[in-house]
């Protein structure tokens, strides 16, 4: 066992442990094994629920697999639904790294969509790449101002960001209704007030060879960039310090105010782009359908991904798949739509609960082994 000693600096008295190479793997595995185990536990609990309503959990998971992941069609279905979730989740995950719980991404999405539609009306006639760019900038600006304001209120006026972002989402939806039913309304849209339909040239199409619009690529790029920002730049480092302890960050001379406003504005900007994509790639105009709840599902995605922008990508795909399979569950098993909500809720609770397990398993944290062995020895 002598050669299995993991760390030469620590005095060892025949300590159990991993070979050095394995230890790295073991430490990294924690971030993967715990969420997967939580998923499995969540699904097991959900199986009991399904049994209780007199259906077969095996059939349910078979149907879910088929509806969400089992064929090329299902995978594209899941990807389409995942596209807006990526950006919506970033709106929660980025502020979360600063210790802020922002849950009002829905507001940034609807205003981003309205701003994009208004920009397209203002630039009507310009070349399509310019209009699409302007729409993106307008959507990002609208969402950025909205959530950036939440961050500013938090830092400079000590207004709780969770409450204010949620309340501002309601204001945003009311504002959108006011705009699309009033000044921005296309007079031809009688019973469903909408802005002028976007000209065909200004729409964002599908990725060639797929039935999924370009929004998924935008979302993945945004996730990767966010990860780089947080993990590899000094701003991200500063944000993580401020997220750990604001006072400590201030003592270090970090400009916490601009950091908070900047990160929340960027987060809102991503959500605003999600709204712009809904208008440019899906709806073709801004209307009440923009408030489809992506902002709220994004909260779930971000928490499941533990606010890690890279983890958002698979989690959004997973939730997209669960939603995609929801329809098939209704049709094949005669279960209500709320079934999927119950599953999402159970996964959410179990995964939140699993947070308490990090750093507690000796298999992933060899230091614990050493410590307990040491404690035994001195006892």
């Amino acid at each position: 066992m002598a050669e299995t000693v993991s760390n030469a600096d620590v005095p060892m008295f025949g300590v159990r442990g991993y070979p050095a190479a394995l230890e790295r793997v073991a430490r990294r595995a924690e971030a993967f094994v715990i969420p997967v185990a939580a998923l499995i536990v969540g699904m097991a609990i959900f199986s009991l629920f399904i049994l209780a309503v007199g259906k077969s959990p095996l059939q349910l998971y078979e149907v879910m697999w088929r509806g969400g992941f089992g064929s090329w069609f299902s995978i594209q279905n899941s990807l389409s639904r995942a596209a807006p979730l990526l950006l919506a989740a970033l709106c929660v995950a980025l502020p979360a790294r600063l210790g802020l719980v922002v849950i009002g991404g829905e507001g940034a999405i609807v205003l981003g969509g309205v701003a994009a539609a208004a920009a397209a009306m203002a630039f009507n006639g310009a070349p399509s790449f310019i209009v699409i760019l302007v729409m993106g900038v307008a959507g990002m600006a609208a969402g950025g101002i909205w959530i950036g304001a939440v961050g500013a209120l938090r830092h400079y006026r000590a207004v709780n960001e969770t409450i204010s972002s949620l309340l501002m989402a309601y204001i945003a939806i009311a504002l959108m209704n006011q705009l699309v039913e009033g000044p921005l309304r296309d007079p031809a849209s009688l019973n469903k007030p909408s802005t002028q339909p976007l000209a065909e040239a200004y729409r964002i199409g599908n990725i060639p060879g797929m039935e999924v619009h370009w929004g998924i690529v935008v979302g993945i790029v945004a996730c990767v960039l966010s990860w780089v920002l947080i993990e590899k730049t000094r701003w991200g480092f500063a944000a993580r310090i401020a997220g750990g302890n604001v006072k400590a960050a201030q003592v270090q001379g970090l400009a916490v105010g601009p950091l908070i406003v900047g990160f929340t504005a960027l987060a809102g900007g991503f959500a605003g782009v999600a709204g712009m994509l809904e208008v440019a790639a899906v709806q073709g105009s801004a209307n009440a359908s923009l408030a489809a709840g992506y902002g709220y599902t994004g909260i779930l995605v971000a928490f499941l991904a533990r606010h890690n922008p890279l983890a958002i990508i698979p989690v959004a795909f997973l939730l997209g798949g669960i939603e995609a399979s929801g329809g098939l569950i209704q049709r094949r098993m005669d279960l209500p739509d709320a079934t999927v909500l119950v599953l999402q809720g159970m996964l959410f609770i179990v995964i939140l609960f699993s947070e308490t397990f990090y750093g507690r398993f000796k298999a992933f944290n060899p230091d614990l082994w050493k410590r307990s062995d040491h404690l035994k020895r001195i006892a």
């Binding site: 639904r81 039913e181 009440a288 995609a324």
Partner: protein, 375 residues
């Protein structure tokens, strides 16, 4: 003789290949009309199927198809008006073999259903709302809708007889033409009983927003209003809140009498069973489906809930007489002389707009006697 039935390896490969190719084709091509005898019909709802309202009315229509030989019905509820509904339609076509789809929410039409019509030219789509236009839209798309304004007029007749305070209340979602016509019809019906009756309207701004609907209903009853009706997706909250406060209610979309058996007067309901059966009968017979169909009470597209126990004899009499008049056809609720509540003339003496009049589809006013504003 025996070697006749012996399969060579080549034969086996050939038949298997043909079979696989046929399977592949039948998967790739949407079900054609040749299979109509065993057809799958898809229904998509924007809210829950048991909402006592808009969606339940459609689900009841879908349920009426379930006994028809060779027809299987697939349904999906709570489908938002986003890419989700496109994928739901595709999934119904690809995984269930749906050959006829009814996306029932207004917002499903453009761009979602139109995108699917272009992608699946062999599948028939019929949308609830009346937006299909031959000049603009494909032939595998279509619209159906009902004229329910006269149902609200009849609600108004019963409400007019029942109210003691002469003040009625209306909880409405959005100030769009369909809703405005319902509000105006309700008030005009009530004024056929007593021309001093007024109706206070409160717009909630959303099709489904339970908290605001409850607040609005309470606010109406607080003002001394004693009969309430509504036009929101699910009238459940309005009906239960109003009845709980002691006010009478007139229903909308579906029959809400189980929610308030004592206080429920009557209600304007959709009768989608008739419309869906009509489409499916044509479909099974292999006939082309109509692209545009609309109807009202006289056509059986709309029906009234049975009159409740609180409805008095005079109300019953006028209700029956008016209903009989409407069943003859050509009845006009909006007729002159009529002013808006801002004083503008909306119909001159002798002018009448029957329910089919195109002018009613861009209604932007509340008539004199309605307290409230469209903006």
């Amino acid at each position: 003789m025996t070697d006749r039935f012996m399969l060579t390896r080549r034969d086996l490969l050939k038949t298997t290949a043909t079979g696989v190719a046929a399977l592949g084709l039948s998967n790739a091509l949407p079900m054609s009309r040749a299979f109509a005898a065993a057809a799958t019909v898809g229904f998509i709802y924007v809210g829950p199927k048991d909402d006592y309202g808009y969606n339940q009315a459609h689900a009841e229509g879908a349920a009426a198809l379930k006994g028809i030989e060779g027809i299987s019905v697939v349904e999906e509820e709570n489908v938002p008006e986003t890419v989700d509904v496109q994928k739901t339609m595709e999934s119904m076509i690809n995984l269930d073999g749906a050959a006829l789809i009814f996306p029932t929410s207004f917002g499903y039409f453009d761009p979602h259903m139109l995108a699917m019509c272009a992608k699946f030219p062999d599948v028939q789509f019929r949308h609830c709302g009346g937006m299909w236009d031959k000049a603009k839209h494909p032939m595998n798309a279509g619209s159906y809708f009902g004229y329910i304004g006269m149902g609200q007029y009849l609600n108004g007749v019963v409400a007019g007889h029942t109210t003691k305070s002469k003040k009625l209340g209306f909880v409405a979602a959005k100030p769009i033409p369909q809703v405005l016509l319902n509000i105006n019809s309700f008030l005009i019906g009530a004024r056929s009983v007593d021309p001093t009756i007024t109706c206070q309207v409160i717009f909630t701004g959303e099709w489904s927003l339970a908290v605001k609907e409850a607040e609005a209903t309470n606010a109406l009853v607080d003002q001394g209003i004693d009969v309430v009706t509504c036009h929101v997706d699910s009238p459940k909250v309005v009906v239960e809140t109003a009845a709980g406060r002691g006010a009478f209610v007139c229903g909308y979309h579906a029959n809400q009498s189980p929610l308030a058996p004592e206080k429920y007067l009557t209600g304007a309901e959709w009768n989608w069973a008739k419309v869906y059966k009509m489409f499916v009968d044509d479909f099974v017979a292999g006939k082309p489906l109509p692209n545009f169909t609309r109807g009202g009470l006289a056509d059986g597209f709309v029906k009234m809930s049975p009159l409740g126990p609180a409805v008095g004899e005079p109300a019953r009499k006028q209700f029956d007489a008016t209903l009989a008049e409407m069943m003859k056809g050509g009845f006009a609720v909006i007729k002159g002389p009529l002013k808006s509540n801002k004083g503008a003339v909306v119909a001159t003496e002798g002018q009448a707009f029957p329910e089919t009049a195109i002018e009613l589809e861009s209604m932007d006013y509340l008539v004199d006697g309605v307290v409230g504003s469209t903006a």
